[in-house]
């Protein structure tokens, strides 16, 4: 039993590594992952104080850089290096997960795969970036994150763990998963 668990663990680590390096397989994918990372970071940071973001952006959308920098400082001052580091890591992983999920969806469409289950982990990996740190703020719960344990860092950490889990589970989007059923 422990041997099976060990093999599964090794496979997951290998799949996670394959998933993480997938954007390196083309210039376009790398660029897209970078854009997705920056956009995710901006959305996460802006949603930490949505009323402020709305006020600044409705006044002048070109002030987005000011809003992002002001709220980056706000996140740092309220949650420290750990909090801002987790948000940055969240953004990078979401950038990778978005590209992988798009590849999975495209592959499923091309091969005519009838099951959405095959692509679901990848899509979830990208989607859960917004269900963790983002949505609470976006819904207008100013301070909801701060009221959570460790100023919301626990939730951010949970979101990152979830992203890593799904990325490892989906693996390299260029290859078909055969052994996936083993842990299903």
């Amino acid at each position: 039993m422990s041997r099976t668990g060990g093999v599964a663990g090794r496979n997951w680590v290998r799949d996670l590594r394959d998933a993480l390096v997938y954007p390196l397989t083309s210039n376009l994918r790398l660029l897209s992952a970078a854009v997705a990372t920056v956009v995710t970071y901006a959305v996460l940071v802006l949603s930490s104080f949505p009323q402020f973001s709305i006020q600044v952006l409705t006044n002048d959308p070109t002030d987005i850089v000011y809003a992002v920098t002001a709220l980056t400082r706000e996140v740092y001052l309220s949650t420290g290096w750990l909090g801002i580091g987790l948000v940055a890591a969240y953004a990078v992983l979401t950038g990778v997960a978005t590209i992988n999920a798009l590849a999975l969806v495209r592959q499923a469409r091309r091969t005519g795969a009838s099951t959405i289950v095959g692509v679901l982990p990848g899509v979830l990996a990208a989607g859960c970036a917004s269900c963790g740190a983002g949505v609470l703020g976006a819904l207008g719960f100013v301070g909801a994150m701060a009221a959570l344990p460790f100023d919301g860092n626990l939730l951010r950490l949970g979101g990152i763990a979830l992203l890593l889990f799904f990325l490892g589970r989906a693996g390299d989007p260029q290859t078909c998963s055969i052994g996936g059923a083993g842990d299903a």
Binding site: V21, T25, N27, V142
Partner: protein, 245 residues
């Protein structure tokens, strides 16, 4: 085309460098906040019993800058207002260094209690601290002022009360808590009433919330209104425009 689908060394280096640059940029932006933790203290402050050309009563109001500065900024604020806190942290220090300390602008702090039930008591604390510190150690007021905004928690909970503001006052060097308490008891009601005329000026200028600003050329009478916590560049443009008009 040849390296399509393969992980090349160039792309790996690019991704590594890009990730480091992204992390470094975030760290740089975040760490810049350390410099403004103490808040801005103007080089000079003064009191005035006049009513400005724009109709703002200046008696008892904190005024940063030189008495003869050509431009006034009337700044309506509330210690419970999170946007005001952003303005205080992000923009006010730069306006202060580049326009107030150079003698071009004087900034008049006016209270507009509008956020919560403690907004008015907080404003009275501010006026009493100023009346106690203005003539002897005006810098104490500005330290108290930024410390009061610094008390705002990120949770947005009901944090403002007598205990919080008494704590800020006690911790601020150069401010005597018992003198401020006496002022609150004896002059609180008259201070409350004295806010009405300047709130009327704000309403006439179509300012309905905080932070609200009127940038006013004292000689030509030209005025520009600004609302919300805007970036420094917007204020700089508006001040330059009013200075030249």
């Amino acid at each position: 085309m040849g390296d399509e689908g393969k992980i090349t060394r160039r792309r790996a280096l690019l991704a590594g460098g890009g990730t480091l640059a992204f992390g470094g940029t975030v760290a740089y932006i975040a760490s810049r906040s350390g410099s403004s933790d103490g808040g801005y203290v103007p080089a000079t402050s003064h009191t005035s019993d006049e009513t400005s050309g724009f109709g703002v009563e200046l008696a008892g109001r904190p005024i940063a800058g030189e008495r003869d500065a050509p431009v006034d900024i009337y700044y309506w604020t509330d210690y419970l207002c999170p946007f005001c806190k952003e303005f205080e942290r992000e923009t006010f220090p730069e306006i202060g260094r580049n326009y107030v300390d150079t003698g071009d602008v004087r900034m008049v702090v006016l209270y507009y209690p509008n956020i919560g039930r403690y907004s008015m008591p907080a404003a009275i604390w501010g006026r009493c601290v100023w009346s106690q510190a203005a003539d002897t150690e005006a810098s104490a007021f500005w330290n108290w002022h930024s410390a009061a905004f610094g008390e705002q928690p990120n949770s947005g909970k009901d944090w403002a009360d007598d205990e919080t503001f008494a704590g800020v006052t006690e911790r601020t060097d150069g401010v005597d808590l018992s003198a401020v308490e006496t002022c609150r008891e004896e002059r609180g009601e008259s201070i409350r009433e004295s806010m009405d005329p300047n709130l009327g000026v704000a309403h006439d200028a179509r300012i309905r919330g905080t932070p609200g600003f009127v940038i006013y050329n004292r000689e030509s009478g030209a005025a520009v209104k600004a609302l919300g916590a805007q970036p420094y560049e917007n204020f700089a443009d508006a001040i330059d425009q009013v200075l030249q008009s």
